[in-house]
């Protein structure tokens, strides 16, 4: 009898152990079909990346520098707004206007303080015209409030849909009790604007009294990866959970993504945040990670350069220092694989106009992944 009890106890305990990791489990391929090359060095935290052409790109450094890089040679761009550098905040993402070739407009997300107070900072979206190494006609599109000295959860990535909208996200600014679930407050939101910076009248809460009109979705913790699905055109996002519960979400209009009411994560100290992982009024993630990988950056491979990788989703892991490849079939993640294992904290990944994958690695710079032939 005692044997049976202990066998049950063993099964029970081991099943708890398994529940802690969310499948599919990460694999490390034995044979590497690729090599890599550092194409830009000397950038400590290459947060954002935007290609001007096959051999020229813009790279942001969190400390507040925007580089224009041609054939590996860096030049600083002048004329940036004030950047509040603290914790996870600083100069974040950069993106080109869909008609950049005609109007030279770029967008930046960054932490700043436009009020001139001493209360810290919060995330803002700016546009400007890039002429040579200067940023002119700087325009503040949105500045979130209130300022805070907290170092956590500024977001932020920028993407565009095909209908003339720009999207960007802001984290909960370390105020999960107040910000993410309240559409009258900034923080823990994805925002949507027209390309000229005006707010679309068909935004979900445009006519709701007291709401922030620019909010597109809410209940987010800290979005640091966003991309557009190459076939469906949907906005895909990843965000940091606490200890466990990092998420991939497909962003839809007016939807509540649940933080912190529902989550698969717990506090860093190990104590629970909530006992709920789902709620009928809130969206489930497309995928969630346990343990947390600390995701940043997001890109689909759409080219024929890496044959086995076409259609896969790539996401950086800051915590485990690799690039993650996720294979998706029938709307589910069916396989996860480590690419560039132990490369360093992977901050960003984008597909260049030449179809190659470019990876921003902290302490290293920008890496190009090259298939073995």
């Amino acid at each position: 009898m005692q044997k049976i009890i202990s066998a049950f106890l063993f099964l029970f305990l081991s099943s708890i152990g398994c529940a802690q990791n969310n499948p599919p489990f990460i694999e490390t391929p034995l044979k590497k079909d690729y090599t890599y090359e550092i194409i830009i060095d000397g950038i400590d935290v290459p947060w954002g990346m935007a290609f001007l052409s096959n051999n020229e790109l813009l790279v942001t450094e969190i400390s507040g520098v925007l580089y224009r890089v041609k054939n590996g040679k860096k030049t600083k761009v002048n004329g940036l707004p004030y950047i509040y550098r603290r914790g996870q905040g600083g100069l974040l993402d950069v993106a080109l206007h869909p008609d950049f070739k005609k109007n030279n407009i770029i967008y930046l997300t960054l932490a700043t303080n436009t009020e001139g107070d001493s209360k810290g900072g919060n995330t803002a979206l700016y546009s400007g015209e890039l002429e040579g190494n200067n940023l002119n006609n700087l325009k503040l599109i949105y500045k979130s409030v209130p300022n805070s000295k907290k170092g956590e959860h500024f977001g932020s990535r920028i993407v565009f849909d095909k209908k003339g909208h720009i999207y960007f996200g802001i984290g909960d600014r370390a105020n999960r009790e107040k910000n993410p679930q309240d559409i009258r407050r900034d923080g823990g939101k994805i925002y949507r604007f027209n390309l000229d910076g005006s707010i679309p009248k068909d935004n979900p809460f445009f006519n709701k009294k007291g709401a922030k009109k620019a909010v597109f979705s809410y209940g987010h913790r800290n979005p640091q990866g966003m991309t557009v699905h190459p076939i469906t055109g949907e906005i895909w996002e990843n965000e940091h959970g606490p200890k466990g519960g990092d998420e991939i979400n497909i962003i839809k209009k007016g939807i509540n993504y649940g933080w912190p009411e529902i989550t698969y994560g717990i506090n860093y100290s190990g104590t629970p945040i909530t006992n709920k992982t789902e709620d009928p009024t809130m969206a489930q993630p497309f995928y969630y990670w346990i343990p947390s990988i600390a995701p940043s950056g997001m890109a689909f491979s759409t080219s024929n350069i890496y044959k086995k990788w076409k259609g896969s989703l790539f996401i950086g892991s800051l915590k485990f220092e690799y690039l993650e490849r996720l294979m998706i079939e029938n709307n589910r993640v069916v396989k996860r694989e480590k690419i560039l294992d132990k490369i360093g904290r992977v901050r960003n990944v984008v597909e260049g106009p030449d179809g190659f994958l470019y990876v921003g690695v902290e302490g290293k710079g920008i890496i190009k992944i090259i298939p073995k032939t």
Binding site: R86, G270, K319, E321, G344, R345
Partner: protein, 137 residues
């Protein structure tokens, strides 16, 4: 008499301002615990153990406990490249977090007295202000 008055007033000023500025060690540790949760815990973890080979430990860290000024400099200016902690080489990057001198002093006092770490020294903002980047080279 006039000089005496000046000396008296200025010493009073210095005394009272030092009273206003200097926190007790316990107050500093308490403020430091909040800074730790906001800026450090994600990587160095709640138990201060970090991640072997990737994120150096703070708990019983010989690097921290033996080279306090270098640790202060790491917080103040950021730390990059190879360091040895408890006989393990770490070759990562920690960017400066934008903390002011008082916040650095507070979080130093916290990590120097947590997880079984003990330090008789009290780190003050003025000590932090005197640490230069060159110490890291």
């Amino acid at each position: 008499m006039k000089y005496l008055l000046i000396i008296y007033c200025s010493s009073l000023l210095i005394f009272s301002s030092s009273l206003a500025q200097e926190k007790s060690k316990n107050e500093s540790i308490l403020s430091g615990s909040e800074i730790y949760i906001d800026f450090c815990i994600r990587c160095h973890l709640a138990n201060g153990e970090g991640v072997k080979g990737t994120i150096p430990p703070l708990k019983k860290s010989d690097y921290l406990l033996k080279s306090i000024d270098k640790s202060i400099a790491g917080l103040k200016y950021g730390l990059k490249g190879k360091i040895e902690v408890n006989n393990i080489i770490y070759d990562g990057i920690m960017i400066n977090q934008g903390l002011d001198n008082e916040e650095i002093a507070d979080v130093m006092n916290y990590i120097l007295n947590q997880w079984g770490n003990e330090s008789e020294e009290i780190i003050t903002p003025s000590r932090v202000s005197k640490v230069s980047k060159s110490i890291l080279k």
